[in-house]
Protein backbone atom coordinates (compact mmCIF):
# COMPACT_ATOMS: atom_id res chain seq x y z
CA UNK A 1 0.00 0.00 0.00
CA UNK A 2 2.71 2.43 1.09
CA UNK A 3 4.80 1.34 -1.86
CA UNK A 4 2.06 2.04 -4.36
CA UNK A 5 1.42 5.44 -2.77
CA UNK A 6 5.13 6.28 -3.00
CA UNK A 7 5.12 5.19 -6.64
CA UNK A 8 2.19 7.52 -7.39
CA UNK A 9 3.87 10.40 -5.53
CA UNK A 10 7.25 10.02 -7.24
CA UNK A 11 5.69 9.43 -10.64
CA UNK A 12 3.82 12.73 -10.25
CA UNK A 13 7.00 14.58 -9.35
CA UNK A 14 9.48 13.04 -11.77
CA UNK A 15 8.46 10.63 -14.51
CA UNK A 16 4.99 11.93 -15.28
CA UNK A 17 5.81 15.56 -14.51
CA UNK A 18 2.66 17.49 -15.31
CA UNK A 19 4.35 20.25 -17.28
CA UNK A 20 7.42 18.64 -18.78
CA UNK A 21 6.07 15.18 -19.58
CA UNK A 22 2.30 15.63 -19.88
CA UNK A 23 2.36 19.21 -21.17
CA UNK A 24 -0.55 20.46 -19.07
CA UNK A 25 -0.51 23.84 -17.34
CA UNK A 26 1.85 25.42 -19.83
CA UNK A 27 0.24 28.87 -19.56
CA UNK A 28 1.36 29.53 -15.97
CA UNK A 29 4.59 27.64 -16.65
CA UNK A 30 5.58 30.14 -19.34
CA UNK A 31 3.68 33.15 -18.02
CA UNK A 32 4.70 33.30 -14.37
CA UNK A 33 8.22 31.85 -14.46
CA UNK A 34 10.15 35.05 -14.94
CA UNK A 35 11.14 35.38 -11.29
CA UNK A 36 11.88 32.80 -8.60
CA UNK A 37 9.55 34.36 -6.11
CA UNK A 38 6.56 34.42 -8.46
CA UNK A 39 7.29 30.88 -9.61
CA UNK A 40 7.42 29.69 -6.01
CA UNK A 41 4.16 31.42 -5.07
CA UNK A 42 2.38 30.05 -8.11
CA UNK A 43 3.68 26.54 -7.44
CA UNK A 44 2.46 26.61 -3.84
CA UNK A 45 -0.93 27.95 -4.91
CA UNK A 46 -1.27 25.15 -7.48
CA UNK A 47 -0.42 22.45 -4.90
CA UNK A 48 -3.02 23.96 -2.55
CA UNK A 49 -5.79 24.21 -5.16
CA UNK A 50 -5.07 20.75 -6.57
CA UNK A 51 -5.34 19.23 -3.11
CA UNK A 52 -8.64 21.00 -2.41
CA UNK A 53 -10.01 20.18 -5.86
CA UNK A 54 -9.16 16.47 -5.58
CA UNK A 55 -10.61 16.30 -2.08
CA UNK A 56 -13.88 17.82 -3.28
CA UNK A 57 -14.26 16.15 -6.67
CA UNK A 58 -13.65 12.61 -5.40
CA UNK A 59 -16.83 12.34 -3.27
CA UNK A 60 -18.76 14.28 -5.92
CA UNK A 61 -17.79 11.74 -8.56
CA UNK A 62 -18.88 8.92 -6.26
CA UNK A 63 -22.24 10.66 -5.87
CA UNK A 64 -22.58 11.11 -9.65
CA UNK A 65 -21.71 7.44 -10.08
CA UNK A 66 -24.37 6.42 -7.58
CA UNK A 67 -26.97 8.55 -9.37
CA UNK A 68 -25.84 7.14 -12.74
CA UNK A 69 -25.13 10.58 -14.24
CA UNK A 70 -21.38 10.17 -14.72
CA UNK A 71 -21.52 12.06 -18.03
CA UNK A 72 -22.11 15.30 -16.12
CA UNK A 73 -18.68 15.08 -14.50
CA UNK A 74 -16.97 17.69 -16.71
CA UNK A 75 -19.64 20.34 -16.11
CA UNK A 76 -19.82 19.63 -12.39
CA UNK A 77 -16.04 19.51 -11.92
CA UNK A 78 -15.32 22.82 -13.61
CA UNK A 79 -18.08 24.62 -11.72
CA UNK A 80 -17.05 23.10 -8.40
CA UNK A 81 -13.39 23.97 -8.95
CA UNK A 82 -14.19 27.53 -10.03
CA UNK A 83 -16.42 28.21 -7.02
CA UNK A 84 -13.97 26.43 -4.71
CA UNK A 85 -11.16 28.75 -5.76
CA UNK A 86 -13.37 31.79 -5.13
CA UNK A 87 -14.39 30.37 -1.75
CA UNK A 88 -10.82 29.62 -0.71
CA UNK A 89 -9.81 33.12 -1.75
CA UNK A 90 -12.51 34.75 0.39
CA UNK A 91 -11.69 32.57 3.41
CA UNK A 92 -7.97 33.24 3.16
CA UNK A 93 -8.58 36.95 2.83
CA UNK A 94 -10.76 36.98 5.93
CA UNK A 95 -8.92 34.64 8.28
CA UNK A 96 -5.30 34.18 7.17
CA UNK A 97 -4.35 37.48 5.53
CA UNK A 98 -0.64 36.69 5.58
CA UNK A 99 -1.17 33.54 3.51
CA UNK A 100 -3.57 35.44 1.27
CA UNK A 101 -0.86 37.99 0.61
CA UNK A 102 1.59 35.38 -0.60
CA UNK A 103 -0.83 33.01 -2.40
CA UNK A 104 -3.98 35.04 -2.98
CA UNK A 105 -2.90 36.87 -6.09
CA UNK A 106 -2.22 33.61 -7.89
CA UNK A 107 -5.50 31.92 -6.99
CA UNK A 108 -7.80 33.45 -9.65
CA UNK A 109 -5.29 32.54 -12.35
CA UNK A 110 -5.62 28.87 -11.48
CA UNK A 111 -9.37 28.53 -12.01
CA UNK A 112 -9.15 28.03 -15.75
CA UNK A 113 -5.90 26.12 -15.61
CA UNK A 114 -6.03 22.75 -17.31
CA UNK A 115 -3.61 21.23 -14.80
CA UNK A 116 -6.17 21.33 -11.98
CA UNK A 117 -9.08 19.95 -13.98
CA UNK A 118 -6.63 17.50 -15.54
CA UNK A 119 -5.68 16.05 -12.16
CA UNK A 120 -9.34 15.69 -11.17
CA UNK A 121 -10.10 13.91 -14.46
CA UNK A 122 -7.02 11.68 -14.19
CA UNK A 123 -7.96 10.61 -10.66
CA UNK A 124 -11.36 9.55 -11.99
CA UNK A 125 -9.97 7.87 -15.08
CA UNK A 126 -7.39 5.85 -13.15
CA UNK A 127 -10.02 4.90 -10.57
CA UNK A 128 -7.86 5.96 -7.60
CA UNK A 129 -9.27 5.62 -4.08
CA UNK A 130 -9.47 8.74 -1.89
CA UNK A 131 -6.01 8.50 -0.30
CA UNK A 132 -4.31 7.68 -3.60
CA UNK A 133 -5.97 10.65 -5.32
CA UNK A 134 -4.85 12.98 -2.55
CA UNK A 135 -1.27 11.66 -2.72
CA UNK A 136 -1.32 11.85 -6.51
CA UNK A 137 -2.52 15.46 -6.47
CA UNK A 138 0.22 16.42 -3.99
CA UNK A 139 2.81 14.66 -6.15
CA UNK A 140 1.60 16.36 -9.31
CA UNK A 141 1.56 19.72 -7.51
CA UNK A 142 5.13 19.27 -6.26
CA UNK A 143 6.12 18.26 -9.79
CA UNK A 144 4.66 21.53 -11.04
CA UNK A 145 6.56 23.49 -8.38
CA UNK A 146 9.84 21.72 -9.25
CA UNK A 147 9.36 22.42 -12.96
CA UNK A 148 8.52 26.08 -12.27
CA UNK A 149 11.57 26.62 -10.05
CA UNK A 150 13.96 24.88 -12.44
CA UNK A 151 12.62 26.79 -15.38
CA UNK A 152 12.68 30.14 -13.56
CA UNK A 153 16.41 29.57 -13.10
CA UNK A 154 16.89 28.79 -16.78
CA UNK A 155 14.78 31.73 -17.78
CA UNK A 156 16.70 34.38 -15.87
CA UNK A 157 19.75 33.30 -17.90
CA UNK A 158 17.91 33.40 -21.23
CA UNK A 159 16.82 36.98 -20.67
CA UNK A 160 20.44 38.06 -20.68
CA UNK A 161 21.54 35.99 -23.68
CA UNK A 162 21.61 37.13 -27.28
CA UNK A 163 19.29 35.13 -29.57
CA UNK A 164 18.39 35.42 -33.28
CA UNK A 165 15.71 38.01 -33.89
CA UNK A 166 12.80 35.73 -34.90
CA UNK A 167 13.53 33.59 -31.84
CA UNK A 168 13.35 36.46 -29.36
CA UNK A 169 10.80 36.09 -26.61
CA UNK A 170 8.47 33.11 -26.75
CA UNK A 171 10.24 30.81 -29.28
CA UNK A 172 13.57 30.71 -27.44
CA UNK A 173 11.68 30.18 -24.18
CA UNK A 174 9.87 27.20 -25.69
CA UNK A 175 13.13 25.74 -26.94
CA UNK A 176 14.66 26.14 -23.48
CA UNK A 177 11.58 24.40 -22.07
CA UNK A 178 12.18 21.61 -24.56
CA UNK A 179 15.73 21.12 -23.27
CA UNK A 180 14.54 21.08 -19.65
CA UNK A 181 11.90 18.53 -20.67
CA UNK A 182 14.61 16.42 -22.33
CA UNK A 183 16.48 16.42 -19.03
CA UNK A 184 13.34 15.13 -17.35
CA UNK A 185 13.17 12.26 -19.85
CA UNK A 186 16.25 11.00 -18.00
CA UNK A 187 13.98 10.06 -15.11
CA UNK A 188 12.18 7.57 -17.34
CA UNK A 189 11.96 4.26 -15.56
CA UNK A 190 13.67 5.53 -12.40
CA UNK A 191 10.57 5.15 -10.24
CA UNK A 192 9.83 1.70 -11.62
CA UNK A 193 13.42 0.63 -11.11
CA UNK A 194 13.44 1.91 -7.56
CA UNK A 195 10.10 0.61 -6.35
CA UNK A 196 8.85 -1.68 -9.07
Amino acid sequence: MLKSLLTVLLAGILTDNIVLAKTTGICPFLGVSKKYKQAFGMGLAVIFVMLCASAVTWPIYKALEALDIKFLKTIVFILVIASLVQFVEIILKKFIPSLYKSLGVYLPLITTNCAVLGVAETNVKEGYDFITSMVSSVGVGIGFLVAMLLFAGVRTRIENCPSPKPFKGLPITLIAASIVAMAFLGFDGVVKGMLG
Binding site: T23, I26, F71, A82, P108, T112, G118, L174, A181
Partner: protein, 263 residues
Protein backbone atom coordinates in the same frame (compact mmCIF):
# COMPACT_ATOMS: atom_id res chain seq x y z
CA UNK B 1 -21.38 35.83 -48.55
CA UNK B 2 -20.10 39.36 -48.59
CA UNK B 3 -16.57 40.45 -47.99
CA UNK B 4 -16.71 41.34 -44.32
CA UNK B 5 -18.29 37.98 -43.47
CA UNK B 6 -15.53 36.22 -45.36
CA UNK B 7 -12.87 38.20 -43.53
CA UNK B 8 -14.38 37.22 -40.16
CA UNK B 9 -14.07 33.59 -41.22
CA UNK B 10 -10.55 33.86 -42.67
CA UNK B 11 -9.13 35.94 -39.85
CA UNK B 12 -9.01 33.01 -37.46
CA UNK B 13 -7.22 30.77 -39.92
CA UNK B 14 -4.26 32.98 -40.81
CA UNK B 15 -4.01 36.55 -39.53
CA UNK B 16 -5.23 35.81 -36.01
CA UNK B 17 -4.43 32.12 -35.82
CA UNK B 18 -5.27 31.23 -32.21
CA UNK B 19 -2.22 29.02 -31.65
CA UNK B 20 0.52 30.47 -33.83
CA UNK B 21 -0.25 34.19 -33.53
CA UNK B 22 -2.35 34.64 -30.38
CA UNK B 23 -0.53 31.78 -28.57
CA UNK B 24 -3.64 30.35 -26.95
CA UNK B 25 -4.42 26.74 -26.27
CA UNK B 26 -0.76 25.78 -26.09
CA UNK B 27 -1.33 22.80 -23.81
CA UNK B 28 -3.53 20.74 -26.16
CA UNK B 29 -1.46 21.96 -29.13
CA UNK B 30 1.69 20.38 -27.73
CA UNK B 31 -0.01 17.36 -26.23
CA UNK B 32 -2.12 16.05 -29.11
CA UNK B 33 0.11 16.99 -32.05
CA UNK B 34 2.00 13.71 -31.71
CA UNK B 35 0.09 12.17 -34.60
CA UNK B 36 -1.81 13.49 -37.59
CA UNK B 37 -4.94 11.55 -36.70
CA UNK B 38 -5.14 12.84 -33.15
CA UNK B 39 -4.40 16.40 -34.32
CA UNK B 40 -7.23 16.32 -36.85
CA UNK B 41 -9.71 14.77 -34.46
CA UNK B 42 -8.82 17.24 -31.70
CA UNK B 43 -9.10 20.12 -34.16
CA UNK B 44 -12.53 18.95 -35.31
CA UNK B 45 -13.78 18.38 -31.76
CA UNK B 46 -12.66 21.87 -30.74
CA UNK B 47 -14.24 23.36 -33.89
CA UNK B 48 -17.60 21.80 -33.06
CA UNK B 49 -17.41 23.09 -29.48
CA UNK B 50 -16.36 26.58 -30.64
CA UNK B 51 -19.13 26.74 -33.23
CA UNK B 52 -21.80 25.57 -30.82
CA UNK B 53 -20.74 27.67 -27.86
CA UNK B 54 -20.27 30.81 -29.96
CA UNK B 55 -23.75 30.51 -31.49
CA UNK B 56 -25.51 29.78 -28.19
CA UNK B 57 -23.65 32.50 -26.29
CA UNK B 58 -24.39 34.97 -29.06
CA UNK B 59 -28.09 34.05 -28.97
CA UNK B 60 -28.14 34.50 -25.19
CA UNK B 61 -26.04 37.66 -25.20
CA UNK B 62 -28.95 39.91 -24.24
CA UNK B 63 -30.25 37.55 -21.55
CA UNK B 64 -27.07 36.71 -19.63
CA UNK B 65 -26.40 39.37 -16.97
CA UNK B 66 -22.95 40.86 -17.26
CA UNK B 67 -21.84 40.11 -13.72
CA UNK B 68 -22.34 36.34 -13.91
CA UNK B 69 -21.46 35.89 -17.58
CA UNK B 70 -18.30 33.81 -17.07
CA UNK B 71 -19.98 30.96 -15.12
CA UNK B 72 -22.78 30.99 -17.73
CA UNK B 73 -20.27 30.72 -20.57
CA UNK B 74 -18.46 27.90 -18.80
CA UNK B 75 -21.71 25.95 -18.41
CA UNK B 76 -22.55 26.39 -22.11
CA UNK B 77 -19.03 25.34 -23.16
CA UNK B 78 -18.98 22.39 -20.77
CA UNK B 79 -22.35 21.24 -22.13
CA UNK B 80 -21.02 21.21 -25.69
CA UNK B 81 -17.82 19.44 -24.60
CA UNK B 82 -19.89 16.77 -22.86
CA UNK B 83 -22.00 16.41 -26.00
CA UNK B 84 -18.94 15.93 -28.22
CA UNK B 85 -17.42 13.54 -25.69
CA UNK B 86 -20.55 11.38 -25.61
CA UNK B 87 -20.90 11.34 -29.41
CA UNK B 88 -17.26 10.33 -29.90
CA UNK B 89 -17.55 7.68 -27.20
CA UNK B 90 -20.64 6.23 -28.84
CA UNK B 91 -19.62 6.25 -32.49
CA UNK B 92 -15.81 6.38 -32.78
CA UNK B 93 -14.41 4.90 -29.60
CA UNK B 94 -10.79 4.56 -30.87
CA UNK B 95 -10.66 8.34 -31.40
CA UNK B 96 -12.21 8.89 -27.96
CA UNK B 97 -9.48 6.74 -26.40
CA UNK B 98 -6.78 8.43 -28.48
CA UNK B 99 -7.68 11.92 -27.21
CA UNK B 100 -8.24 10.67 -23.68
CA UNK B 101 -8.11 13.38 -21.05
CA UNK B 102 -7.71 16.17 -23.62
CA UNK B 103 -11.32 15.84 -24.70
CA UNK B 104 -12.86 17.04 -21.40
CA UNK B 105 -10.04 19.57 -21.11
CA UNK B 106 -11.44 21.50 -24.09
CA UNK B 107 -13.55 23.17 -21.37
CA UNK B 108 -10.54 25.05 -20.05
CA UNK B 109 -9.06 25.75 -23.48
CA UNK B 110 -8.60 29.53 -23.52
CA UNK B 111 -9.52 29.73 -27.20
CA UNK B 112 -13.14 28.74 -26.55
CA UNK B 113 -13.72 31.00 -23.56
CA UNK B 114 -11.68 33.74 -25.20
CA UNK B 115 -13.86 33.81 -28.33
CA UNK B 116 -17.01 33.85 -26.21
CA UNK B 117 -15.68 36.78 -24.23
CA UNK B 118 -14.12 38.70 -27.09
CA UNK B 119 -16.47 38.04 -29.98
CA UNK B 120 -19.69 36.13 -29.36
CA UNK B 121 -21.07 38.36 -26.64
CA UNK B 122 -20.90 41.44 -28.87
CA UNK B 123 -21.94 40.05 -32.26
CA UNK B 124 -24.90 38.39 -33.93
CA UNK B 125 -25.18 34.60 -34.18
CA UNK B 126 -24.16 34.36 -37.86
CA UNK B 127 -20.96 36.34 -37.38
CA UNK B 128 -20.23 34.39 -34.20
CA UNK B 129 -20.71 31.10 -36.03
CA UNK B 130 -18.27 32.19 -38.75
CA UNK B 131 -15.79 33.37 -36.14
CA UNK B 132 -16.03 30.09 -34.23
CA UNK B 133 -15.63 28.07 -37.42
CA UNK B 134 -12.63 30.14 -38.53
CA UNK B 135 -10.90 29.94 -35.16
CA UNK B 136 -11.58 26.20 -34.95
CA UNK B 137 -10.10 25.59 -38.37
CA UNK B 138 -7.15 27.82 -37.45
CA UNK B 139 -6.60 25.62 -34.41
CA UNK B 140 -6.80 22.53 -36.61
CA UNK B 141 -4.31 23.96 -39.12
CA UNK B 142 -1.84 24.80 -36.35
CA UNK B 143 -2.16 21.35 -34.78
CA UNK B 144 -1.79 19.69 -38.16
CA UNK B 145 1.31 21.66 -39.11
CA UNK B 146 2.96 20.55 -35.87
CA UNK B 147 1.71 16.98 -36.16
CA UNK B 148 3.09 16.52 -39.68
CA UNK B 149 6.65 17.18 -38.48
CA UNK B 150 6.26 15.29 -35.24
CA UNK B 151 4.66 12.18 -36.66
CA UNK B 152 6.79 11.81 -39.78
CA UNK B 153 10.11 12.55 -38.09
CA UNK B 154 9.31 11.22 -34.63
CA UNK B 155 7.22 8.12 -35.27
CA UNK B 156 8.36 7.62 -38.85
CA UNK B 157 4.79 6.91 -39.97
CA UNK B 158 1.82 8.57 -41.61
CA UNK B 159 -1.74 8.08 -40.32
CA UNK B 160 -0.91 6.15 -37.20
CA UNK B 161 -3.83 5.49 -34.87
CA UNK B 162 -6.40 4.27 -37.41
CA UNK B 163 -5.56 0.57 -37.03
CA UNK B 164 -9.01 -0.18 -35.65
CA UNK B 165 -10.56 1.22 -38.85
CA UNK B 166 -8.44 -1.20 -40.92
CA UNK B 167 -6.11 1.57 -42.10
CA UNK B 168 -2.51 0.51 -41.61
CA UNK B 169 0.02 3.31 -41.05
CA UNK B 170 2.57 3.87 -43.80
CA UNK B 171 6.11 3.42 -42.52
CA UNK B 172 8.44 6.01 -43.96
CA UNK B 173 11.60 6.32 -41.92
CA UNK B 174 12.06 2.77 -40.72
CA UNK B 175 11.69 -0.72 -42.08
CA UNK B 176 11.19 -3.92 -40.17
CA UNK B 177 12.08 -7.16 -41.92
CA UNK B 178 9.71 -10.10 -41.78
CA UNK B 179 11.69 -11.81 -39.03
CA UNK B 180 11.27 -8.73 -36.84
CA UNK B 181 14.75 -7.24 -37.16
CA UNK B 182 15.15 -3.57 -37.96
CA UNK B 183 16.50 -3.04 -41.48
CA UNK B 184 16.97 0.71 -41.11
CA UNK B 185 15.72 3.33 -38.67
CA UNK B 186 16.02 7.07 -39.19
CA UNK B 187 13.42 8.14 -36.65
CA UNK B 188 14.01 10.86 -34.05
CA UNK B 189 11.85 9.48 -31.24
CA UNK B 190 12.24 12.53 -29.03
CA UNK B 191 10.13 14.58 -31.46
CA UNK B 192 7.12 12.44 -30.64
CA UNK B 193 7.55 13.08 -26.93
CA UNK B 194 6.94 16.23 -24.86
CA UNK B 195 10.35 17.89 -25.51
CA UNK B 196 9.78 17.55 -29.25
CA UNK B 197 6.43 19.27 -28.84
CA UNK B 198 8.03 22.29 -27.17
CA UNK B 199 10.81 22.32 -29.79
CA UNK B 200 8.56 22.10 -32.86
CA UNK B 201 6.18 24.69 -31.42
CA UNK B 202 9.05 27.09 -30.68
CA UNK B 203 10.53 26.73 -34.15
CA UNK B 204 7.11 27.11 -35.80
CA UNK B 205 6.47 30.37 -33.94
CA UNK B 206 9.93 31.62 -34.88
CA UNK B 207 9.16 30.83 -38.53
CA UNK B 208 5.85 32.69 -38.24
CA UNK B 209 7.74 35.64 -36.71
CA UNK B 210 10.14 35.65 -39.64
CA UNK B 211 7.32 35.52 -42.21
CA UNK B 212 5.19 38.18 -40.57
CA UNK B 213 8.22 40.41 -39.90
CA UNK B 214 8.53 40.90 -43.68
CA UNK B 215 4.93 42.09 -43.84
CA UNK B 216 5.50 44.72 -41.19
CA UNK B 217 5.21 42.42 -38.23
CA UNK B 218 2.27 41.35 -36.14
CA UNK B 219 1.52 42.99 -32.87
CA UNK B 220 1.97 40.12 -30.52
CA UNK B 221 1.85 40.85 -26.87
CA UNK B 222 4.59 39.26 -24.84
CA UNK B 223 3.59 35.88 -23.51
CA UNK B 224 1.91 36.63 -20.24
CA UNK B 225 -1.61 36.96 -19.01
CA UNK B 226 -1.86 40.29 -20.84
CA UNK B 227 -1.96 38.42 -24.12
CA UNK B 228 -4.59 36.00 -22.85
CA UNK B 229 -8.22 36.84 -23.54
CA UNK B 230 -9.21 35.08 -20.34
CA UNK B 231 -7.01 37.50 -18.41
CA UNK B 232 -9.90 39.53 -17.16
CA UNK B 233 -11.55 36.39 -15.86
CA UNK B 234 -8.95 36.70 -13.20
CA UNK B 235 -10.96 39.74 -12.23
CA UNK B 236 -8.57 41.64 -10.06
CA UNK B 237 -5.21 40.58 -11.34
CA UNK B 238 -3.07 40.35 -14.38
CA UNK B 239 0.47 39.10 -14.47
CA UNK B 240 1.95 42.58 -14.41
CA UNK B 241 -0.17 43.40 -11.40
CA UNK B 242 1.00 40.19 -9.80
CA UNK B 243 4.56 41.40 -9.99
CA UNK B 244 3.49 44.65 -8.40
CA UNK B 245 1.38 42.92 -5.77
CA UNK B 246 4.17 40.47 -4.99
CA UNK B 247 6.66 43.29 -4.51
CA UNK B 248 4.09 45.20 -2.47
CA UNK B 249 3.57 42.16 -0.27
CA UNK B 250 7.31 41.80 0.07
CA UNK B 251 7.71 45.42 1.04
CA UNK B 252 4.84 45.37 3.49
CA UNK B 253 6.17 42.18 5.10
CA UNK B 254 9.58 43.76 5.55
CA UNK B 255 7.84 46.83 6.93
CA UNK B 256 5.93 44.61 9.35
CA UNK B 257 9.17 43.06 10.47
CA UNK B 258 10.61 46.44 11.13
CA UNK B 259 7.54 47.38 13.12
CA UNK B 260 7.87 44.15 15.11
CA UNK B 261 11.48 44.88 15.82
CA UNK B 262 10.59 48.38 16.93
CA UNK B 263 7.90 47.02 19.19
Amino acid sequence: MNKSKLSIFLRGIIAENPVLILVLGTCPAIAVSTSIVSAISMGLAATVVLLGSNVVISLLRKIIPDTVRIPCYIVVIAAFVTLVEMLLHAFVEPIYNLLGIWLPLIVVNCIVLGRAEMFARKNNPLDSALDGLGMGIGFLVALLSMAIFREILGEGTILKGLESFNVQPINLLFKIAEDGTMVYDFRIPILAKAPGGFLVFGILIAVMNKITAKKGGVKRKSFSCDGCPSAHLCTKTSCSEITELATDAEESSTENKEVDENA
